[in-house]
Amino acid sequence: MKRILLADDDDGIIDATRMMLELENYEVIPTLQGQRILELAQKEQPDLIVMDIWMSGIDGRDICRMLKNTLQVQTIPVLMISASRETRQSALDAGATDFIEKPFDIDSLLEKVGSLLSK
């Protein structure tokens, strides 16, 4: 079973997204705290990290760069979520593997997730 680390500072989004992913039988490791992503990633070694770009007090792109600079986790694909499509390029520049805009379709999300995990 594939394991996905899901990070967003809004518990509604965490909850709904987790439901979507679990419909496809993925194991979700949720967190509301952006600061914990690196720690959790190192600890849990997920197959995919899905995270919001704007979380309270922290920029997802900074975390993404840290992940990509950390040896044990740098190969884990990152799917960046953002309410603004303008941040797409900067997210990819920061090392994100793919990008999805809020609000997203369940089909789009699952397609992207499936695609990233099959690599």
Partner: protein, 1008 residues
């Protein structure tokens, strides 16, 4: 018999011809000769005893046979005959066998071959010695005068002489053709016959027979006149001479005669005698006249070059009497400047064929007295029958006085002719005798026109002519003349010209009779014009509002115009002689004495400020004055001081009023809360109100000139300068927002300026205001910020709702509850609409705050369009979207944003064509642009609304507008995106038929 060849035939013909010639030669008594074609060789000569025979070709025949003096004539006649291939015919002398000269009539015919070349000359010569001798005898028998006369008459007379010879038996042995013609007979029927047989009446025959006897016995000629009928001409008068012809023994052997028809001559002679008598009388008179007129005569013998002079002639040339003179000698007494001219004229008169006339005036220098004289020499050359001049004779007259008089006259005439005064002379009937050039011009007579055809009537109107004739002309005083104004008329233009005319009467010096009147005319037009000008000028000065005065050199007032009198407060007569120092203020008087007077003496004029004192009210009146020194025209002595002045009170009042207005305006400007400023047309600030200084207490922030931009926020300064420059160049209103430093902070201002233009539309000044909009700006920023945050915060729950809905939909579907699943699906679509509204608000916020970001990339345009169309097609249930993508290249720009524009156009097309089932999308390259158009077949947009659809919050309204929800931001956002990418967006539409929305992107963007 065979036909002879052509050559044989010719040879035979010649032989026959020669045979005939031989026969002819034998039968005739004439001399026969044959000459070579060019006459150089005499082939054969049969002299008949007259000349020595020769059968041998002779080359020196000319010397041998032709009389030396006739050789040139013979040669010339031969040359002519050869040249023309004609008969040679000449009477000339030959050297006879005995060496004596004899006369022959020689004729030769050219013999020519078939080509026309002369092969030889065949000639005959008749002995005419006897005939010639008779003629010579006849001629010799006449006395010299008679011979000359006859000779002359032969040339001029129409009737040839009759020539004949009688034998002593009274029979004719010779009669010339003229006589034969007269008789109406031939030689054969007349010669050898007596007088009676030739038609002479008995008395006539007896008379001549008596005369022949008389000649024979007296051995002297006999002369007579007889009248008898002519065969053709009728009764004629004849003059005849009978002359003895002597034999060798001195006895008379024959009587020769000549007879002349003198019918006309007789008549002429009778007349001539009358003429001669008259001529003689005339000659006498002429001589008398010549003497009286001081005319001398001269006669040059061309052969000897001797000149015969009469005494008068000698006197004129200053020769001593009786000294022989020749032509060269005479020439040496001609003035050296005239010598060449005289010689030329003489030589010209002597040229054969000329008319021989000579007429010349020249100067002589007296040989004895050295006096210079003008002579008028006239003469005529006489030519002999050969055309050679032999005599040159004429008269000479002293014309010194005449020449001097004429020169004087000429000088006077040219003085008159080219005089600027108009002068004319007319006779007492008014007929023009003379007009000088000025007069012609004045009265319209052409330079070459004959003015003597005109009279006074041509130069006056009828009324004026009558007045002049009745009142002016009779009033001309014989001594003082008359002077007055006449109104003359230009003949051509008809212009009436007022003139001052001076008449004098011209009288005959001897008789005192009045023979004409001279007129000197002065055209008064320029004077009248000048006077009118002067009048106008004086009026202008008199009525001028400027003060004018005129003082003598001591400063005593001579003239003061009306304005001056009013200003100074002096009456019409009161100012005369009043010193100018009396009506200026004390300080002005000092200035006049110390500065003004020295200046005008030095420079001629002075300009400056003075004060007048009104003599009635005592008011001091400031004036701006110009003073001039007037100098006497000829001596240049200063004679007067002229002044023109302007009352400065209205000006000062106006300036004071203006200053008041300016102060008020400045007060007004200073009391306005906004910053107010003005600028020159060139953009230099020249005024700023107090408000600015209140806000910027330090001197370093002075905005005048172009220092203002130093106070701007560094991010705004460059943009502000550019915009300002653009405004002052184009004259368009200036409008900009920028931040200005105040203390340590920057505040936002809305700056606006408008140009003030003069009547011609030229910018005089810019008036600008700076309005503080900092608070508004801050509020705007807060609003934008709020909207941004709000939109973002709104998106979070929307995302959650959407996610829950989709999970729920799936769960229902997995459980087979399709009805609930569809319901949740509808909810999801409403969430999408909500999201789209939020996105639009977010975009507008970004546009307004200038924070919309673009992510540049280069991508395939067709791929983007196809992808977008497929996305939309998925949710569009009714419409089929047809693609026609002609542009297949790449585009640079923000792919997502461009996709957003295409989505917007497509969703609009679907939204506003609810009844249609088709949408068209096409792309193409047009010049440097890539164009994309979306066409629908829906409700369309009215023309007046088409421009507005791209405005913020604008929504297409129509009868069914309530069915088209939305914030009206989509096209605004699309338009902003396209503009930001350097493109254009537009719409074409027909109401009820549909719309086509297009945008273009520059192709060059791909090269960036």
């Amino acid at each position: 018999m065979t036909q002879p060849t052509q050559t044989n035939f010719s040879t035979q013909a010649i032989a026959e011809r020669e045979g005939r010639f031989r026969a002819l030669v034998t039968a005739t008594s004439d001399i026969i000769y044959i000459m070579s074609p060019d006459w150089t060789v005499l082939q054969q000569l049969d002299g008949r005893g007259f000349l020595p025979d020769t059968a041998e070709p002779t080359e020196d025949w000319l010397q041998k046979y032709i009389f030396p003096q006739d050789q040139p004539a013979v040669k010339a006649a031969i040359a002519e005959a050869i040249q023309n291939k004609t008969i040679f015919e000449l009477e000339h002398r030959v050297l006879r066998t005995d060496g004596s000269p004899g006369w022959t009539l020689s004729r030769a015919v050219p013999i020519m071959d078939e080509q026309g070349r002369i092969t030889e000359w065949f000639g005959t010569a008749t002995d005419i010695t006897e005939r010639r001798q008779i003629q010579e005898v006849l001629l010799a028998s006449n006395d010299l005068a008679e011979q000359q006369k006859r000779f002359y008459e032969t040339i001029t007379g129409s009737t040839p002489d009759l020539i004949y010879v009688f034998g002593l038996d009274y029979r004719f042995t010779y009669a010339n053709q003229a006589l034969l013609t007269m008789w109406g007979k031939t030689w054969d029927t007349a010669v050898g016959k007596g007088l009676r047989e030739n038609g002479y009446e008995e008395w006539h025959a007896q008379m001549h027979e008596r005369e022949i006897d008389q000649v024979r016995s007296d051995k002297k000629p006999v002369r007579g006149v007889v009248s008898f009928p002519h065969a053709i001409l009728g009764s004629r008068i004849y003059d005849y001479i009978l002359t003895p012809v002597f034999g060798e023994d001195g006895e008379v052997t024959a009587v020769a005669g000549t007879t002349r028809d003198i019918t006309e001559i007789r008549n002429a002679e009778e007349q001539l005698q009358v003429l001669n008598r008259e001529l003689h009388a005339a000659q006498e008179q002429l001589n008398f006249a010549l003497n009286a007129a001081g005319i001398g005569t001269w006669d040059l013998d061309i052969a000897t070059q001797k000149v015969q002079w009469d005494d008068r002639c000698r006197e004129l040339f200053g020769f001593p009497p009786h000294v022989e003179t020749n032509y060269q000698n005479v020439l040496s007494y001609v003035h050296k400047d005239d010598r060449n001219r005289v010689d030329k004229a003489v030589q010209a008169a002597l040229i054969p064929g000329s008319d021989g006339r000579y007429d010349l005036r020249y100067r002589t220098v007296g040989a004895t007295d050295g006096r210079l004289r003008w002579v008028h020499c006239k003469g005529r050359a006489f030519f002999d029958t050969g055309g050679q001049s032999y005599r040159f004779a004429g008269t000479v007259q002293d014309v010194t006085d005449e020449v001097i008089a004429r020169r004087r006259e000429q000088q006077l005439l040219s003085l008159v002719r080219y005089n600027n005064d108009h002068m004319s002379i007319a006779d007492m009937q008014g007929r023009m005798i003379y007009m000088n050039e000025s007069a012609k011009q004045l009265l319209g007579v052409g330079p070459d026109e004959d003015y003597t055809r005109f009279s006074s009537g041509d130069f006056y109107d009828a009324d004026e002519l009558a007045r002049v004739q009745q009142h002016v002309l009779p009033a001309i005083d014989p001594e003082k003349g008359w002077k007055g104004i006449n109104r003359l008329k230009n003949k051509n233009t008809g212009e009436v010209i007022p003139c001052e005319v001076s008449y004098t009467l011209v009288t005959d010096l001897d008789t005192g009779e009045v023979i004409g009147r001279g007129a000197t005319v002065r055209d008064l037009r320029p004077e009248l014009k000048a006077r009118a000008e002067l009048q106008r000028l004086a009026t202008m000065v008199d009525v001028s509002e400027d003060f004018s005065n005129y003082c003598d050199i001591e400063g005593r007032t001579l003239y003061l115009n009306q304005s001056g009198k009013e200003l100074i407060g002096l009456g019409d007569e009161e100012f005369k002689g009043v010193s100018l120092y009396n009506y200026h203020s004390e300080p002005s008087n000092r200035l006049i004495q110390q500065t003004v007077i020295p200046t005008i003496y030095r420079e001629g004029r002075w300009t400056g400020r003075l004060d007048l004192v009104n003599q009635k009210t005592g008011e001091v009146i400031p004036i701006h004055k110009q003073m001039y020194l007037i100098r006497e025209e000829i001596t240049n002595e200063p004679v007067a001081i002229a002044g023109i002045a302007r009352d400065l009170r209205p000006e000062i009042q106006a300036r004071n009023a203006l200053n008041k207005v300016i102060r008020e305006m400045a007060f007004l400007a200073d009391s306005i809360p906004a910053v107010v400023w003005t600028s020159t047309p060139g953009g230099q600030l020249d005024y700023v109100n107090k408000r600015w200084h209140d806000l910027h207490p330090g001197k370093e922030s002075d905005p005048l000139g172009d220092a203002w931009s130093g106070n701007l926020h560094p991010d705004d300064a460059e943009r502000a300068k550019l915009t300002w420059q653009k405004a002052i160049t184009s004259g368009e209103p200036y409008r900009i927002e920028f931040r200005v430093r105040e203390e340590n902070d920057y505040r936002w201002y809305l700056v606006q300026a408008l140009p003030l233009r003069d009547d011609e539309g030229k910018i005089m000044k810019w008036y600008g205001t700076n309005t503080d909009i900092h608070v508004q700006k801050e509020l705007q920023a807060q609003k934008d910020n709020f909207l941004g945050v709000a939109s973002h915060e709104l998106k979070t729950p929307v995302t959650s709702i959407k996610a829950y809905a989709q999970v729920l939909e799936r769960v229902f579907r997995n459980n087979g509850d399709e009805k609930s699943a569809d319901l949740v699906g509808k909810m999801d679509r409403q969430v999408n609409r909500l999201n789209s509204l939020i996105s639009d608000l977010l975009d507008v916020t970004k546009i307004n705050s200038g924070r919309m970001q673009f992510n540049e990339s280069t991508f395939s345009f067709s791929e983007l369009v196809t992808e977008t169309v497929e996305d939309i097609q998925r949710t569009a249930l009714k419409h089929i979207i047809r693609r026609e993508l002609k542009y297949d290249g790449e585009v640079s720009g923000d792919r997502d944003r461009l996709g957003q524009v295409i989505i917007n156009l497509l969703t609009n097309a679907i939204k506003y064509s609810p009844d249609a089932s088709r949408i068209m999308i096409y792309t193409q390259q047009e010049n440097d642009e890539i164009q994309l158009c979306v066409q629908d077949f829906g409700i369309g947009i009215s023309p007046e609304k088409q421009d507005k659809v791209f405005e913020q919050f604008y929504r297409v309204s129509g009868t069914r507008e309530h069915t088209f929800p939305g914030l009206g931001l989509g096209l605004y956002i699309s338009a902003e995106i396209v503009r930001r990418m350097g493109g254009r967006i537009w719409v074409t539409s027909t109401e009820g038929k549909g719309s086509t929305f297009c945008f273009s992107l520059p192709l060059t963007i791909t090269n960036r």
